[in-house]
């Protein structure tokens, strides 16, 4: 008989893997991706493909430079970054800008900080923030849905204000590609909850804070919830496990912080949208929250 394997307990593990966690996020992003393709047609195809392919290429180069093995989790994580970045930019953005954005996201925001699991800021959001800072006009040239199919050139900026709740909910308004349809994002979020891939504290603290602040300052809370990048931010960006706190009180504080900063930026700053910066700012607090916003340990008062 060959020698027995001696290993520490436990000798039984769940079937969950990093790769599976990533796959769940990709599956949850499918409805929003389909909505983007439906509303913005050919532009969406180009941007999404560019995002995905460039993310894979940059990921492979980075891993090669680090002499690290290429795992399924690495590739899926890069796919999430590429797809998310594509979904949070305007459909009129030229493809080469998407390549620059994914380069910043994968190379600078992720691998420069140590790669998968080690980055402080959400890579896709860093990519977008870089693009907004570099090409502010191109990045805010929103397209009206369906029109993009008829004309290849960007139309005038569409202000989402006259949209009805139903239009906002379905996504039939101007905006970033994957952000417009609250319905599609909620279907994806429901899947993430079903798979227990995300937890209620953070997204609901975020959305709840937005509603409360809206009510205090007499702005329409439904409009605040359904417009802009709030839905994709609350359910897909602020729930990115790597860049958000692991402690339960930390998750609540993170969500509330995101809500406050979002509303401050929306109501009082030069930018029309605050979701991206609110999450990035709160990302910076994650290590502090993990250390100081700890919960109670069993057996302590």
């Amino acid at each position: 008989m060959k020698p027995l394997l001696v290993t520490p307990a436990p000798h039984m593990k769940s079937k969950d893997t990093n790769a599976r966690v990533m796959l769940d996020v990709l599956i949850a992003l499918l409805p929003a991706t389909v909505a983007a393709l439906f509303f913005f047609g050919f532009n969406a195809v180009i941007i999404i493909l560019t995002g995905l392919i460039s993310a894979w290429i940059f990921e492979l180069i980075a891993l090669k430079l680090k002499k690290a093995p290429v795992t399924r989790a690495d590739l899926r994580s890069a796919s999430i970054t590429g797809l998310l970045l594509a979904l949070i930019i305007a459909p009129s953005v030229p493809w080469w800008m998407v390549v620059v954005g994914t380069f910043i996201a994968i190379f600078i925001a992720k691998h420069a900080f140590g790669g998968l699991g080690h980055n402080i800021f959400n890579p896709a959001l860093i990519g977008r923030a870089f693009m907004v800072a570099s090409w502010p006009i191109l990045m805010t040239a929103w397209l009206k849905p369906f029109d993009a199919i008829a004309t290849a050139t960007p139309l005038a900026t569409v202000n989402p204000a006259p949209a009805t709740y139903l239009q906002l909910f379905l996504g039939n308004v101007g905006g970033s590609m994957g952000e417009t349809s609250a319905l599609a994002l909620l279907i994806g979020a429901a899947y993430l909850f079903y798979r227990q891939a995300i937890e209620w504290r953070l997204p609901f603290a975020y959305l709840g804070t937005v509603v409360v602040i809206s009510l205090i300052f007499r702005v329409d809370p439904v409009f605040q919830l359904l417009s802009g990048g709030l839905m994709i931010g609350a359910f897909f960006m602020a729930t990115d496990p790597v860049t958000t706190p692991v402690t339960k009180p930390g998750r609540l504080i993170f969500g509330i912080g995101c809500g406050i900063i979002t509303m401050v930026l929306r109501m009082g700053a030069g930018y029309p949208e605050g979701v991206c910066y609110s999450i990035l700012l709160m990302n910076a607090t994650t290590p502090l929250l993990d250390r100081y916003a700890r919960g109670r340990i069993f057996g302590y008062k």
């Binding site: 520490p8 000798h11 039984m12 893997t17 891939a197 069993f298």
Partner: protein, 452 residues
Amino acid sequence: MNSLPQNVILSRVMSKTFPGGIHPSEHKKRSKKEQIRKAADPKIAVIPLCQHIGTPAEPLVNVGDIVKIGQPLGDSERYVSAAVHASIGGKIIAIEPRLTPFGAKVLSVVIENNGDQDVHPSVRPYPNFKDLSKTDIRKIIRGAGIVGLGGAAFPTRVKLQPPPDKVIKTIIINGAECEPYLTCDYRLLIEQPKKVILGLKAIMKPTDALEGIIAIEDNKPEAITAIQKAIDEEVSHHNLRVAVLKTKYPQGAEKQLIKAITKREVPSGGLPADVHCIVNNVGTAVAIAKALTTGMPLIERIVTVTGGSISEPSNLLVRIGTPFSELVEQCGGFLEEPTKIIMGGPLMGISVPSIDVPVIKATSGILVPSKKELDDLEPEPCIRCAKCVDSCPQYLLPNLLGDASENDRFDLSKSYGALDCIECGVCSYVCPAKRNLVQLIKLSKNELLRKK
């Protein structure tokens, strides 16, 4: 399941539990219906003098001595220790360090079986249970070498003598058996419910406890029914009851069990007695009952032999000192060559270095998983998903504790509560990155205890 009494059905609806935990697949099906059967006595029994937490016993016999069943082989004057006894009759052929399931060599008495079935004269029945005083009961438990049979092997006598300033109200018999695969406690609950109750009453007496509770998970309705029936048949049963628990791991962990039943939390670094409880395993209760009625010390226990590699999974009544290999043979042998042999359950059990190690008092199961059941994947970086945080029954932050251990930051481990870890393994089980978090936390614990 339909024949369950009304009160059992009702209590199942209101099953109690603790926050956190996991629901691993049970894998109990193959052995749960197997009646306990007596395993053959070993040809050679290897009986380690230290099978418990505490001071090893000193040998009381010499090489060449002929011993009888139940004869003391070793004992110690120290408080936290336990006696060991001859499990078979025969000649002592060696007293030397032998390999134990834990991987270390421990001074052991080796007996060659001579087929003698006579019991040692010191083994004699005690008077009626009613006539035994508190001191008698403690003495009998001490003399019988009884330790916690759930796996920890802590000397039971010590447990039954809490610090004088602690008031004990509740004795809990732990029949949760939340580890997958194991069915030894389940079979005892079904087959020997009266002994379980007697054991419970014997623990209640010296501790002046007000109530006795038998805690069973709600996936074991037959056991709940059997125990409820045995309670109803007791003459005086106003202070005995069954507590039905949700099926969840680690429901049988002492602190989580007390929390589920009494809603009280054992304070950090404290004892169950701090919240007026003492918890004992089903097997321990039965061992106490046996010692009280027949005078026979702890020389045998129930062992579940199971796992994908075992042909005929069984629940065996095994003499202490029987090598694992003989038991596997009596269960039809292996279906495939074993990769790993585990003593205990898959979540807290230890993998043994050899199939020739003996069954000791702490051996609740011999688990031999098939290759398919063992899927060890390479660890990947933590993605901070916090599944470990959300499932930790002690509300710790296992991923951050793991990081602290990896970076030798034991100061951080301490402030993150490493010493409050109960080593249940839930964090390692849920981790999608396949980090062995509980092992990293144990590293910190060892380091912190060493420095103390």
